[in-house]
Amino acid sequence: MWDWARRLWSRADRDLDREIQAHVEWEAEDLAAAGLPLEDARVAARRAFGNTARIQEECREMSARTAIEALVQDLNYAVRVLWRSRGFAAAAIATLALGIGANTAIFSVIYAVLVKPLPYYQPDRLVAIHIEIPQFKGPAGSMAERPRDYREWRSHTTVFSDLAIFGAAALNLTGQGEPERLGGLRVSANLFPMVGVPMARGRGFRPEDEIPGGDAVAILSHDFWMRRFAGDPAILDRRLEVDGRSFRVVGVLPAEFVFVTGKQFHPALPLPSQIDIWVPMAFSNAELMKLPNFDYGVIGRLKPGVSLERARQELDAVSVRFGREEWTTLPMDLHTVMVSLPEVFTGDVRPGLTLLVGAVGLLLLIACVNLANLLMARMTGRRREFATRAALGARQSRLARQLLTESLLLAALGAAAGAVLAWWGTRLAISLGPADLPMLQRVSLNAPVLWFTSAIALLTGLGFGLLPALETMRIDLADDLKEGARGFTDGPRSGRLRKALVTMEAALSTALLAAAGLLLHSFVNVTHVQKGFAVERVLSADLSLPQRTYQTPQQRTGFYRDVLSRITALPGVIASGAVTDLPLTNESKTKLIQLESDITTSLERPVAAWRHATPEYFNAMGIPLLAGRPFRDLEPSPVAVISQSLAKALWPDAQPESALGRRIRAGGPPLTTIVGVVADVRTVSLEAKPMPQMYRPYTQGSEADMSVVVRSAQDPQSLARAVRGEIRSLDPDLPVPSMKTMREIVSGSVAQRRFQMVLILAFAGLALVLAIVGIYGVVSYSVLLRTREIGLRIALGAQQSDVLRSVLKEGLMPVVAGLAMGLAGAAATARALKSLLFEIGPLDPVAIGGVACLLLLAATAACYVPARWASRLDPTEALRHE
């Protein structure tokens, strides 16, 4: 800024120098022509001119003083003008605050989620590695990683400077205080050094921590350390009782550390939604030997200069070779897929966020149009003021600058209010945001955000201030003084301009409302899909039996049998059961299903999500039984209940009943008899088609981790205490995490969609309000200008209904034009939103029609108020109106 000013000045300085030089030379030439020798003439001329430095000083001071003085004067005047019309100023600042606040809030979210780099060393060189088997159809073809491939890669890679592996671990903290279920991760010792994050306290893991038996050390997350241990500085070397083993705390992570949670890393790799504790990855032999063991995440750091594609090719060769060697009978390829880690963190929110940016941008544009409109209307009222000032010698550019100063002052005040709104809005966004987006927690109002706000304020100030300013340059103010003498009239030009602004506003609001309508309809569709289970009055609790205390299958099945019979006996409980994975939570445990008659493994057969359940589970969860029977506690041979779609996939032409008694294999032996067919349950989300499912009795699997499901006659949360009590009485050391109702689980599964929809809906609502205010303002103003004309018409015999109709027509014409333009724009927007629509086309008649009706109704209401006022004018008073 100062540099720029100095350069400008120095140019003026040079100009002055040159001018003085020319003056002196000219004088010298005059003197020489009069007969003086040239040298003497030059000296004399210079002496006659006097002190040049003083002149320069004086001129320089003058330009500085006038610029600053003019600015101060303009600001002073602007403040007085705004203060005089406080109502207008308040409305304008509120409008701007909404526009700027919404934009700042959304930018803060975008910045935190998409722009701000991960708190790692060179995060863009980190990649996530997945496996894809093209022969498997649908989501089953993509999976996380195996320890086998990781080991092989790590020992032979030439393209990665390092590779690290991690996996989920559900851990129970017992010992001192309340037992607690912890979100844990097992990680290879090199993970933290590889991502470049040093511990805030203590040390990271060491290679020797990866040896089985020597791995009883733990690192805590900052949040967990604060929550459970109140940030106790003596935490290092403390012993924690976890799953019956004693772990020594060796380190605490820094507060700003983030890592993938939920299904962010890969849909088939469910991780805890919050990670409290980190333990070293000490592979057991069984883990390394198990062939289909895709339950681990692998991250690598590319060597400098290595491209993603070259790295992929190298690892791909290993995984394809492994796949061929290990599954000789299966014609399938294990291909490597790589995704840059920052992209993994961003997840699938990018299209939604881009949509939000578009929406808030439109909102700001509407706010600007509205303000330009208001200012134009005011300008007409202020013409006499400007005409007078022009007559007193103010230049038009000076008047335009004055108007622009007023606009910029409004924008600055609006931005200040907007920053406050934005702060509040980001808090709201964090609380509304989906749980799978840990980056959202990093949202804050920081320097880049404030820069953004200031830039936006400047742009809006110019945006809505330029139009009126340009208008002053064009109008002939001298005419205005004369016109003013006759009272207010509205030139046809500014009338047209205002109508054009209303058209624009209606068009922008229509586009935004259409997007909101489409998302709302999609949301309704999503929540009304056939879920296959009961949403109301079902409570669930995830339990995890520690290996140490529940070593035998009999102990595990015994615990669940006992706890369920106790819970079922509670008053108010209709049924209770247990399952390994609740609906909507997991699609990662899958098996390839084979018919009894298949001799070789065929990849043409369906892949099914695989669960263990208790006999009463279907009843408790409200899953309809379509044929056959559920399990019994004691089954003499392996049995299964399958979902309708699995029956359909195995025997496409048969009724569900015909599946009963048939035998299948899941992945391998044993041969399992189908005893029942149940309805399909949405396995991973309401939006994805349900995967075929297969349920086995818990007595034939004896899993340690199951979710207890309780169906109640009344509000399910009222049973939570009693259920917790029963579990506690059976095993006081077993932590019971917070119990969730199925309603909460369903609601959580649509959180991201709801987040987007609520925001777009809010923005569209605001846009509608702004448009209505704009339309109302313009119509009222034109009625005010036409008061005498309307009075005259009434005096000449026009009926009330004629006046009403004419004002309505005049007000609605630009709205209808805008609506038509907006609908054309909406068709384009809808195509851009395609990936966010659910079971509707981009030209969904319900959403688009509804939006058009809404806008028309609201605009009619906005026009009706001034129209009615006009129709009731008293002609004698109206004719006297100034």
């Binding site: 020319a22 000219w26 001129c59 003058m62």
Partner: protein, 108 residues
């Protein structure tokens, strides 16, 4: 009174430029000639005044070639400058009349 006199130089410059564009040296000469050498403009006041008038938008300037082959900065009156001159002249006339009224009784 100082402001008034300041205004006087401004008015004289504007008035001079009413005849047509001129450069600084030319303006000095013209003022000297038209006032029969009564008014001599100090260069130390002339250039700041030209600068000031240009800032106000009453005159603007441009470098132009002259018949001597040297480029000189020529000043010309703008529309606003003409209006300003009218205002200044009426102010001056008022002042001149006021001075005349004050001086009259002594003469009589």
């Amino acid at each position: 009174m100082a402001a008034q006199l300041h205004g006087t130089l401004d008015m004289i410059i504007l008035r001079t430029l009413l005849r047509g564009p001129a450069h600084g040296h030319g303006i000095t000469r013209l003022i000297q000639q038209t006032s029969d050498d009564v008014l001599r403009v100090d260069h130390g006041s002339l250039y700041p005044a030209l600068h000031r008038l240009e800032k106000q938008g009453w005159i603007d300037s441009k470098w132009e070639d002259t018949d001597r082959g040297r480029q000189m900065r020529f000043y010309r009156l703008t529309r606003a400058g003409k209006k300003q001159l009218e205002v200044e002249e009426s102010n001056w006339n008022e002042l001149a009349q006021a001075i005349a009224r004050i001086l009259r009784p002594v003469e009589e």
